[in-house]
């Protein structure tokens, strides 16, 4: 049984996030408390550490920070998670973008291990649009970005992924897109040829480009409301007028300062369109 009992003081969490920010520039100070606390407890347990030894390790061993980032960020996702969302993209959102532009740009913000990027690549390939899209996928965790680039996942996760793909009503079988090697499903690298992976921190990074579609699903749930508000402003600046923003089905932007610069395209799947600069 996993241990959700061990407690860690908010004051200790502040000490650690303060250190990580001042020494390494990663800003977790406005992450949502309860999930961040669980992640911290997990880091301590995995390393058999106390708060003091963790602080010492972060202070004395700069190389450890990458491991820390990998443990502290949530990297659980699926291919075609919420199949209805992916059907909506295929049937409404992508056709909507094509009305104005034949070539378009997509941003996956907080792409984690790359399942959503790969889902997008498969969707575009099935629509015959692979060469019309350029995709940028970002995460602050370099370890997970390497995993995303490799596009290979444990075969035992393919059951869930295949079921999602069937509900997405894809054109073939998910198996058509990967080869089995050493207990892994290795997806055809051709799928990611128009994807560029970048290390980028949503919290501290500057706006760097404009996009027709931004996907950031189940990422901002790990932020507090102050930070969600700031990140939504960045997304607003990173979208062309009439560009689309997709967030997780249980997320909301309704109370954010910039909410009235967007309209709801689909309430169920939480897709918004920027309508005002």
């Amino acid at each position: 049984m996993s241990n959700t009992i061990q407690d860690i003081d908010i004051a200790d969490i502040r000490k650690i996030t303060g250190l990580v920010y001042s020494k390494y520039g990663y800003d977790f100070r406005d992450y949502a408390i309860s999930s961040f606390k669980r992640r911290m407890v997990r880091v301590l347990e995995l390393g058999g550490m106390t708060v003091e030894t963790l602080i010492k390790k972060l202070t004395d061993h700069p190389a450890y920070v990458n491991e820390f980032l990998d443990e502290i960020t949530v990297n659980v996702t699926e291919l075609f998670r919420d199949p209805g969302f992916w059907r909506l993209l295929r049937e409404e959102i992508i056709p909507g973008i094509l009305l104005n532009n034949k070539e378009f740009r997509i941003l996956h913000a907080g792409c984690s291990s790359g399942e959503e990027v790969l889902s997008m690549a498969i969707l575009l390939k099935e629509m015959g649009l692979q060469n019309n899209a350029s995709i940028i996928a970002t995460d602050l965790d370099t370890t997970i970005l390497e995993k995303a680039k490799s596009a290979s996942y444990l075969l035992k996760t393919m059951d869930v992924n295949e079921k999602n793909y069937i509900r997405f009503l894809g054109k073939t079988k998910l198996k058509a897109y990967y080869e089995e090697e050493n207990g892994k499903a290795v997806f055809h690298h051709d799928l990611l040829k128009n994807v560029s992976f970048r290390k980028y921190d949503l919290v501290t990074g500057e706006v760097f480009n404009k996009f027709d579609l931004i996907l950031c699903r189940n990422v901002m749930i790990y932020f507090n409301q102050t930070l969600q508000n700031e990140v939504l402003k960045k997304f607003h600046s990173s979208l062309f007028k009439y560009g689309y923003l997709a967030i997780g089905s249980k997320e909301s932007i309704i109370w954010c300062d910039y909410a009235n610069r967007f309209i709801v395209v689909n309430q169920e799947e939480k897709v918004y369109k920027k309508v005002r600069d």
Binding site: T4, I5, V74, Q228, W255
Partner: protein, 197 residues
């Protein structure tokens, strides 16, 4: 009528359930009046790809307003909140929810332990935790957290459960104030209702 020695100090009721708890939950929610003075927060194991149906079914039977909360949604009395499929549901200081897609806990997402433990952290001794029928041990640790913070702990009487693994896990982990049948749990909630003006 004060069988259970309840007061009007409580701020929330959390309910956990898994296999065999569905009928019990429906029965409980169908008799609670719409002006119930506390929020009811339910974490139930459910199929991850079935996003709809449950809220609709319960709504037909219950006078209460039932919703699957969104991330950062405020917690209000007289509402029933149901953990959404494939998300963990946590209670935050400041009396609002947060959701997460972290790894499963006890092979479950939503995990009852996460909802119960975070609620215990926020509401401390002003929380009532109720754990119903279920086939795994999820929720046991959460009930222990509720007890450790001084809250009131209630499990469904094992002989009243379709599958008693879950309440038994809680009984082995911590001291449980009341071990009750579904009908007695309803009595307890009615008594609780009467404590509030």
């Amino acid at each position: 009528m004060s069988k259970y020695n309840l007061t009007s100090e409580y701020k929330a009721v959390v309910i956990g359930g898994s296999a065999g708890s569905f009928q019990g939950i429906i029965k409980i929610l169908s008799v609670i009046p719409e002006d119930f003075p506390l929020p009811i927060i339910a974490a139930l194991h459910r199929l991850k790809h079935v996003r709809h149906g449950f809220v609709e079914v319960v709504s037909l039977k219950s006078a209460l307003k039932i919703v699957e909360p969104e991330d950062k949604e405020s917690i209000r009395k007289g509402m029933v909140y149901l953990a959404p499929a494939n998300y963990h549901l946590a209670v935050e200081l400041g009396n609002y929810f947060s959701l997460s897609t972290e790894d499963m806990v006890n092979n479950s997402r939503p995990a009852i332990d996460i909802t119960l433990s975070t609620a215990a952290y926020v509401y401390r001794n002003k929380l009532i935790g109720i754990l119903l029928s279920g086939a795994n041990r999820d929720g046991g640790l959460g009930m222990k957290n509720i007890k450790d913070k001084g809250g009131l702990t209630v499990v469904q009487e094992p002989s009243d459960c379709m599958i008693d693994t879950m309440p038994k896990a809680a009984l082995s982990l911590t001291s449980i104030d009341y071990t009750l049948t579904i009908d007695q749990i309803i009595d307890l909630l009615k008594e609780l209702y009467q404590q509030y003006p």
